[in-house]
């Protein structure tokens, strides 16, 4: 309860009183201060804490993302996989709400004897992780991908030539090339909105605050507190994914700037437990190739220096 008070002060923040107009005459300055309680300052790291224990699967984040980023509709149809008809992140889907119905397959356990309500549902809004060390960026040969001043990872559309090397590099299967325009696309963490002092669209649209936007360090502390609360309330399965020292940060990837609180093992959400940064294999692979060719040169020299006429 104290947490709620902390997140939602009962008294409106003083700045809210600066705008009594019904129709805004101009854009609000530092709007995120009012909507997310954080001022967006270049040079600091920002991110998302997606608390899946609060997610109700409304997909408002998906819609808000598509709306703001003017992304085309895709995959219109039914997958047969619970309420998830989005299926996966793609070049035109930057938020994806996953649904897992935890229905026991044990013969002696009936639905009526299982825990009621949302306890049997896993819902999780997946997104680009904006890795501390981003595999897509390290793979990009054109420099189209870059680390922004907000600690996020963005594709510059005017530089990307659609080589597609970032696609198999990503350890989370996020970035994808589009057949529509021939470039790689993924979540930008609303780079344009951050520039204008606005909270990213998905977080602003989230009705339950499952998606929380803020300064990364503050979010990580908040996540730890939430985890402690949940454990105390009897949710032992709750665990963080992508916060420092938790799964998803392995193999040189480092803390994920969009991280999660999960209620089941990461694999159930399709997330790898101990992924690795592909670039950690580059030096090893190059040395192996060059050593091989050095061996070839020696063998060839030996063969052609000797031998019969």
């Amino acid at each position: 309860m104290s947490e709620m008070v902390e997140r939602y002060p009962t008294v409106a923040p003083p700045r809210a009183l600066d705008y009594p107009e019904a129709i805004m005459p101009h854009p609000m300055r530092d709007e995120s201060e009012l909507t997310a309680g954080v001022r967006i300052v270049p040079g600091r790291d920002y991110g998302f804490f997606t608390d899946t224990s609060l997610c109700i699967g409304c997909k408002a984040c998906e819609v808000a993302c598509k709306e703001w980023n003017a992304l085309p509709a895709d995959n219109i149809g039914l997958t047969g996989e619970s309420y998830d008809n989005t299926a996966a992140l793609s070049a035109t889907t930057w938020r994806h709400v996953a649904f897992v119905e935890q229905i026991s397959t044990a013969a002696d356990e009936r639905a009526t004897t299982m825990q009621p309500y949302q306890s049997n549902w896993l819902m999780m809004s997946d997104i680009c992780k904006h890795c501390e060390n981003a595999a897509c960026l390290e793979a990009c040969p054109t420099g189209a991908l870059f680390y922004t001043e907000f600690g996020t990872v963005v594709v510059q559309q005017d530089i990307c030539n659609g080589c597609g090397y970032c696609v198999p590099a990503c350890p989370f299967g996020v970035i994808m090339t589009s057949k529509i325009d021939g470039k790689a696309h993924k979540c930008t963490l609303c780079y344009d909105r951050l520039k204008g002092g606005l909270e990213p669209a998905c977080a602003k649209a989230c009705p339950t605050d499952s998606i929380q936007f803020g300064e990364l360090r503050e979010l990580q502390e908040r996540a730890q507190r939430r985890l402690t609360t949940l454990h105390a309330r009897g949710v032992p399965n709750a665990a963080l994914y992508g916060a420092p020292g938790t799964p998803g940060t392995t193999g040189g990837i480092g803390p994920l700037h969009a991280f999660f609180l999960l209620l089941d093992r990461p694999e159930r959400y399709g997330l790898p437990v101990a992924p690795t940064l592909p670039s950690t294999r580059v030096r090893l692979a190059f040395l192996a190739g060059l050593a091989t060719m050095t061996g070839v040169v020696i063998a060839a020299a030996a063969t052609f220096l000797n031998g019969r006429k």
């Binding site: 270049p42 040079g43 996953a98 897992v100 501390e132 990009c140 040969p141 054109t142 420099g143 680390y147 030539n161 659609g162 597609g164 090397y165 696609v167 198999p168 590099a169 990503c170 989370f172 299967g173 994808m176 090339t177 325009d181 402690t228 454990h231 399965n237 665990a239 916060a243 020292g245 938790t246 799964p247 940060t249 040189g252 803390p255 093992r265 694999e267 159930r268 399709g270 790898p272 437990v273 101990a274 592909p278 670039s279 294999r281 580059v282 090893l284 692979a285 190059f286 192996a288 190739g289 060059l290 091989t292 060719m293 050095t294 070839v296 060839a300 020299a301 063969t303 052609f304 006429k309």
Partner: protein, 364 residues
């Protein structure tokens, strides 16, 4: 874009190796992984690579390998094996001319191909490879031109120029022959990522083998001296034996890491067994060994071995490219591949919640 930023736009962030056991507040499910997935949907995305990239792996490797062989022979035995030097340089040029169109055609936005040379990025084999191909193309092209001038005019100046130009070309050729292995291994695809050492080694040997096969065919067409053919065959045999050994090692690693699935499917499995290993290595090695041991070389045998090598190496590229894509499409392969591995010998210490160091293996 004028704001001051904490890090340079392309700057590398600080590497922090995260220790999973360090976070006491995040208890992990300690049950072993039992192939749980999200509706069997893959957790990573496959590359879009197909025939074009397999073709480039083949031509790039062939061009690089041919330049290396031609240069070594030019320095080691320039007179008696002149056929090899000439053939090697021209084959290298031909393969080189075929490579960039394949790569550019594979881009989703081909008109922006020049952006490949916009930056140098050491963490990206694609970036290193683009530069290597460019420098290689420059020197290998000039070498071939000098060789052409020599062939037409008999100029000794051209001959010396070709030799000087071929050394940097061969240096880049060494990169060209094997870097595509690094390109594949530096991804999240289990089939490729499982063999970061063996894959570039295999590609290097396969590139050399295909170059030797192409040179052998050219030498056969030009009726090269018997000694030249003998030495070519001996080197092919050495490389082939190496390839066979490597195939065994790679299959072993794939099985050990539990990512061999795509290679065991009927189609790719057959291509792997009969094409990549059989046609590409086993058959040529058998023919070369028989001819070297008996000391009698048949023209037919040589041509069959060379053709089999070329076909086998191309099939190998196809198997690796398409196998990798299948590997990425398998949800369980990747999620199994990314399970925490048991600490290696001497590293089996875990820090418990209260900071006390215990010995033993982590139960994950």
């Amino acid at each position: 874009m004028s704001e001051m930023t904490e890090r340079a736009p392309y700057g590398r962030r600080k590497r922090r190796d995260e220790d999973l056991s360090a976070n006491a507040d995040s208890p992990r499910d300690s049950r072993p992984y039992r192939n749980e997935t999200y509706y069997g949907r893959p957790s990573i995305k496959p590359s879009h690579w197909g025939w074009l990239i397999a073709g480039y792996y083949f031509t790039g490797g062939l061009g690089g390998g041919a330049q290396v062989i031609a240069t070594v022979v030019d320095l080691a035995s320039p007179e008696r094996d002149r056929t090899i030097v000439r053939a090697g340089r021209y084959i290298s040029l031909a393969a080189l001319l075929a490579s960039p169109p394949l790569l550019i055609a594979d881009l989703h936005t081909p008109v922006r191909f020049y952006n490949m040379l916009r930056i140098v990025r050491p963490t990206s084999p694609m970036s290193i490879g683009s530069w290597a191909l460019s420098v290689f193309g420059l020197f290998a092209g000039l070498t071939a031109v000098a060789q052409g001038v020599e062939d037409l005019t008999g100029s000794t100046v051209a001959r010396r120029a070709a030799r000087w130009l071929s050394v940097p070309a061969a240096g880049m050729g060494m990169v060209m022959a094997g870097y595509t292995g690094a390109l594949s291994a530096a991804t999240s695809v289990p089939l490729w990522a499982a063999i970061p050492r063996a894959l570039p080694t295999l590609f290097g040997l396969a590139s050399t083998a295909s170059a030797l096969a192409a040179i052998t065919l050219a030498a056969e067409a030009r009726n090269a001296p018997e000694g030249t053919q003998h030495r070519l065959e001996r080197l092919s045999l050495i490389i082939g034996v190496g390839e066979l050994a490597l195939h065994a090692i790679i299959s072993q690693i794939w099985r050990a890491r539990d990512v061999a699935g795509p290679i065991e499917t009927p189609k790719l499995g057959a291509l792997h067994k009969y094409g990549m290993v059989g046609l590409g290595a086993a058959l040529p090695v058998a023919i070369h060994a028989a001819q070297q041991l008996t000391g009698r070389r048949s023209r037919t045998g040589t041509i069959i071995a060379a053709a089999a090598t070329l076909a086998g190496v191309f099939i190998e590229r196809l198997v690796i490219v398409f196998g990798g894509n299948e590997s990425a499409r398998s949800a369980t392969d990747y999620l199994r591949f990314t399970q925490p591995r048991k600490p290696r010998m001497g590293q089996n210490r875990i820090v418990s919640d209260d900071g006390e160091t215990q010995s033993g293996t982590t139960n994950r």
